[in-house]
Symmetry: D2
Subunit: 134 residues, 4 copies
């Protein structure tokens, strides 16, 4: 298991006319979280693609607890595990660190594939990192 | 239960560097589907907000079956039910009608609230429409 | 010169907390307009990329006249000319066809390049189409 | 004149299938730049709206010099002047600070209005800040 934390602020472009962050943007925040986690423990996801590894999403889920508005601070906590040797599972918890309440929680699942869209074994190094938790 | 179908094409802006539609945009397609369903049976969601009804999202789930690329045709089939008297549940199935394969399926759950964010009873007329299926 | 017209509706995801369409989304509407124009006279932009032609943007300009809100109908009129043999120039006019007022107007300029980012001569057929206006 | 600098990284969601940041997202980066500038010298734009000041965009222009890809660092330099007592003019320069090349440059123009969309005089304090340059 690997965990990581990163803070961002909601952009004006991410709000909608209800005055809140539009619901699909939480999935973009999830991406910011997992990008940060992978870079912190291993390498940039960008380099991963240069090595021929792609990580399409298989499934995503999000539960929305409290709305978040423009310029609000959002703390993204991400956690990586393997549910199967080939399936990466990321859990996310979004909180407001200034007012300490839960914004949302969710998960995404991914597999590894080649540039051509063929399934690919996860790198052994990532398995080791997740197992050792660092 | 109410059902509705609408076709759209993936925009270039919606793709990512993997050459596919970025995963959060499926939630935007869901929105296009439910907006279409509500307008078809009842009224525009825009008028609903003028009447003081807002529909924040409580939960969302999506399973990604086959990727979709720029300019691909996407058929969005939406289905509305009430899981509780206050909770709207939309199911979505996205298919490629030209090549007839499944792209994705998912759901969103919503409650009614006032402009100020207070819970609000769902309009009786919508309950009737969903019960009668037309 | 080639001209083309297409109508779309503003999505909820495209609004911001001012209750209007967020300003960068007008550039997405421009993309919808030029994609439509190219498909109408010639081929899908998607096929163009399969032929190894890419059209990065060099410059864009937009003047915002009247705001547009969720679910409003937007008419996108696009016009294609060549300002130089290698530079495509698209002009766009966005209007509300229901209430007949001007929403915005702007332009984008593009060049042709290869997949590797090298400059490439515009296809002779496109020059002929623009010259003949059909 | 007020100037401000902020660094961000391009998100995966912001790329397109050409493998570059999609052109409308530069306008989102501009927003990040001006939000940062206003907060640095004065107050959060969020508070500005609470005070009843809204800043719709009148015009925008962008020249794209060199592409930027996923996870690339982007330095946003913003500069605020008044072109007329009622018109705020922001200039932006986007560079890659790691490889020191120009990504793009552009501007946006805004006016002040009330929540109801009526023109409103710019706050005297902002005029003073811009005049004094701090």
């Amino acid at each position: 298991m690997l965990t990581s934390t990163v803070d961002i602020r909601a952009r004006y472009s991410e709000t909608d006319q209800m005055g809140r962050v539009y619901y699909s943007n939480y999935l973009v925040y999830f991406e910011v979280g997992r990008t940060h986690l992978i870079r912190q423990y291993w390498k940039s996801y960008s380099d991963l693609e240069k090595d021929g590894y792609f990580l399409p999403v298989l499934e995503t889920h999000c539960r929305y607890h409290n709305p978040v508005g423009y310029d609000d601070l959002i703390r993204i906590e991400s956690r990586l595990t393997f549910t199967r040797p080939t399936i990466l599972h990321f859990d996310y918890v979004l909180t407001n660190p200034e007012k300490s309440f839960l914004i949302a929680e969710g998960y995404t699942e991914h597999c590894f594939m080649t540039r051509d869209g063929k399934p690919r074994r996860a790198p052994a190094e990532l398995h080791r990192l997740v197992r050792e938790g660092r």
